[in-house]
Subunit: 405 residues, 3 copies
């Protein structure tokens, strides 16, 4: 392989000319180093046989996003914006210059966690930075704010998303199709409290309309611990619109709270932007095939555009559905949220059996694939997959919430 | 117009050779960019017919001010230090190398909000950074810390001052007198909670002994909201001294709390630094002329030096007077504070009718002019303006506080 | 003296060719300046008659240590890593490339206080960054979190360690043995609350196996204040091991709480890493010689390696012993903690007389020397010093805790 690199890249790159891939270590807390603004492209790498691709790291400025790094993985078909400074969340996905996955949050900046106080507003500080397409809610806890049994405030959706990653590595396979892998280490480390370290991984193949997540959570302490994770995946325009539809392989669905009862029957369809709607949340028990594989599908009204999320019920047994079809300026968005848990406070989920244990030294894997559906045929294909798992059965409607906040 | 610019300035400047002004976009979160250290002067701009002026942006280092930007607008007569990283507050104003407006706070650094936890000390974290001549207390709330009716802690004096501005723009008129305008956008954006965006504006004309504020607060959400603002304007040496005097066009004045009752009668005069004094606060109902225009004046004992603040009672109906004539090292200072509200917690001001509503999409304007009074004549002129509004009446003394904290 | 300096150093250096020392002002909030990455060595300074030495300042990147400065003082025998961004704490001490003083905390990064919320977890946020060999717990308060008598939450171990220093100065004596001094100013300044400013000082002589601390705490306010300080000195491998021993000149020792009662008799010896042990804490009243000088000694099982801490009981009358001999991954470590106070919350220490007053304008001095013991002879020598102070008496065992948390 012939490689052209910038000086900075050469300095940090793990020399790998005799291996299967080009590796670039962009950020590494262990050595205290960071490559700064950085880019590779299929051209500079001499990987020109397939679709053109690039990976670029850039530092943002201005307001509360001062000092935030973004990492844009452009596979030629999709351009995925990762945010190392914010737990390697996914800000958005564009295609041909237009956003295809993501939403318009009232929060406009990609906020540096240095400017966020998770404990503010009784544990709602997370809302000061929420605007991503995919947020990891975890791993120490995942749900709504509230005082846990020991009297400590668990803040909304955990700390992972507001943790700058300790290590960022980009790996590009030498051989076609030159698969691109981005690793990012999220370290939740507090003396006496937690040692949950997650190696996040995003993979995509040049030219593909999909990307996959392969996270590995490890409890590096010597004691068993609880963990929780929700892959809070959020979609607004262009997929979400009046008449858009969500389809989820699940055995049952229940309203999150009393307010959501009124929307239970119509859970699969979406309103347009609706003033005063606020949000309705539903809890679903995911249903997988014989191997546990399953998926959720969101498509537009014409059913010729959408997104699917594949995941595995053995890893992520439940899925939340967040319908926030309020006005555009409030953030017209829906969340499709595979997880170990629902969004209740941890205290309420222990009785539901949704606060799993991770043993000392144990690792847990979470694999999800996000696929952009670009035609009626692709939408149909995804819906057929759901139908195959459901085997003609309907999702059972359970009228009462599982817990009361 | 002939313009000489640095490369960085050229890159970011909005080309405006055919327009009425030279515009420089220094910081812009929308594009993630910041110009870094930067300067223009009347010379580099070729605007040499009038008084020399300059505008300089500089990044500070050391302690808790690491990464803070200051923007110094020197109009030839006054040099105004703005702090983009702290909500575009005004740190101080110097004239001929000496501070004329500002004070000596125990807080010596210009503190980066990244190092401030507003919720600390039961909501008093704001005090870790308080040292400016002018602080915006707002706009989501404005007063003393306390739990609001919904159980959330409202921290001291709101969040605006600890919000790094999202956009900084400098505009200099092509035509004499080459008015200088600095815009700064303060975005208070929290998902589900608030979307109050304020375009702050400072204007000054080269050679002038005054500068004006023209803030435009917009509720960019689709829902009506409450707002509050106090322009917390603080003056110590050289104007404040034993025998200094404050004069305010107002219909009535009352003590903020029981402690201030003892100082009610002598509200207009100041003690020298007085150990054990702590602070006395008074609440005044502002009185305007037929158009609502009004002013407050602070002058030294000799009445040959001072400052006036012009504002409009339709925008800012009340004014707080904070007399903190404790010892020098504690911060010998007085605050003259035109606002929508007093400094009580929001919960206490709703019954007083001092928590106004801003409708969805609505904008509110706040215009103030700070004038440095440099002679007996200028002080007299300002006091005459107050007298004209007061029409021979005295400010009515109300003995009891309006609320009990 | 012949001096070779980098340009940056020249810019900031206080020219001192005619004085007794070369001074380098590396960081100075007063002027808003910082020298950036920087280094001097005995060679560049032309001080080549004795052991080679160097002082290097470096900015770290990655994760939550983004923007943290470390200052490594290598005296030829010991290399001491100071952390200006974290209150000039001492991260670790190495000798010949191996760590000799320090420990392996579950917290791996040197965390920027911008990413720490001291109030989180009911005041335990300090644990998110705790991994240093020496941490100053103070100076406004020092102990365990809890609500003080006025209802304010005092967070764990105070704020000094999470305060970036305002000023960093390196001074190297012109004359042999070219003593190296590092000054760092920790400013605890909050309007209306505190004005405790500490000039921290570390001194070491090239070739020496010791370094000393000479801190000067000044109450720069006009009012008397309380203060507390614990020099939380932490040691793991290689000194700490099963059978390691601590020896402290003290009149009495008591368990911190009921759990520690079981370990009272064996307070001098250490277990190996012990799952489920958690931590035992003991409180000791220090005993000094006629001048108040005293010491504590920690040595390994073979008694041929260790560390001593000299201090003075007039400055630091008590000493805490923290035995955290849990598993390696939990942080196998012991803390030897000379202080004005124990680790109880301030509220509990006032009745014990352990919350001293610092008068307005007063300064308090704290002098400690850390000596690396490299042989049986050096360990023996240190133990002999303790014995001399103890005059054949034993430390009295007091069975009941002094306070109940």
């Amino acid at each position: 392989m012939k490689v052209k690199l910038t000086l900075a890249a050469i300095t940090l790159a793990l020399a790998s000319l005799n291996t299967q891939a080009a590796e670039f270590l962009l950020t590494d807390a262990a050595t205290g180093s960071d490559v700064g603004n950085w880019q590779v492209t299929s051209s500079t790498l001499g990987m020109t046989s397939g679709p053109a691709f690039s990976v670029e790291k850039r530092r943002l400025h201005g307001g509360k996003q001062e000092g935030v790094d973004v990492l844009v993985v452009n596979n030629g078909e999709l351009s995925v914006t990762l945010v190392p400074t914010r737990g390697m969340g996914i800000y958005q996905v564009t295609s041909q210059g237009h956003r295809i996955l993501g939403w318009d949050s009232p929060v406009k900046e990609i906020v540096n966690p240095a400017y966020i106080d998770l404990e503010s507003r009784n544990g709602l500080g997370w809302l000061d930075g929420f605007n991503e397409m995919m947020v990891r809610c975890g791993f120490e806890w995942t749900g709504h704010p509230g005082y846990d049994d020991d009297g400590h405030l668990l803040t909304l959706h955990g700390r992972a998303q507001n943790t700058p990653v300790s290590m960022v590595k980009v790996i590009i396979d030498d051989q076609p199709p030159h698969k691109i892998t981005v690793l990012g280490q999220v370290a939740e480390r507090t003396f006496k409290k937690t040692q949950l370290v997650t190696m996040t991984e995003l993979q995509t193949v040049p030219g593909s309309n999909a990307f996959s997540i392969h996270d590995k959570l490890t409890n590096v302490s010597d004691y068993d611990d609880e963990y929780q994770i929700i892959y809070h995946s959020n979609f607004g325009r262009p997929i979400l619109e009046k008449g858009a539809k969500v389809t989820i392989a699940a055995s049952e669905i229940s309203p999150f709270n009393d307010y959501a009862k009124a929307g239970l029957k119509e859970w699969q369809t979406y309103l347009g932007p609706t003033k005063g709607f606020d949000e309705m949340v539903f809890n679903l028990k995911s249903l997988g095939d014989s191997k546990g594989n399953t998926l959720a599908v969101l498509n537009n009204k014409a059913a010729n555009s959408g997104v699917s999320i594949h995941y595995n019920v053995k890893q992520l047994p439940v899925i939340g559905l967040w319908k926030n079809t309020d006005t555009e300026s409030q953030g017209y968005v829906t969340g499709i949220e595979p997880g170990t848990s629902y969004s209740y406070n941890t205290k309420l989920q222990r009785p539901l059996g949704l606060v799993p244990t991770i043993k000392a030294g144990e690792s847990k894997h979470f694999d999800l694939t996000y696929t952009v559906l670009r035609s009626s045929a692709e939408v149909k294909g995804a819906l057929k997959e759901v139908a195959k798992i459901m085997k003609g059965k309907d999702v059972k409607l359970v009228k009462e919430p599982l817990a009361k906040e």
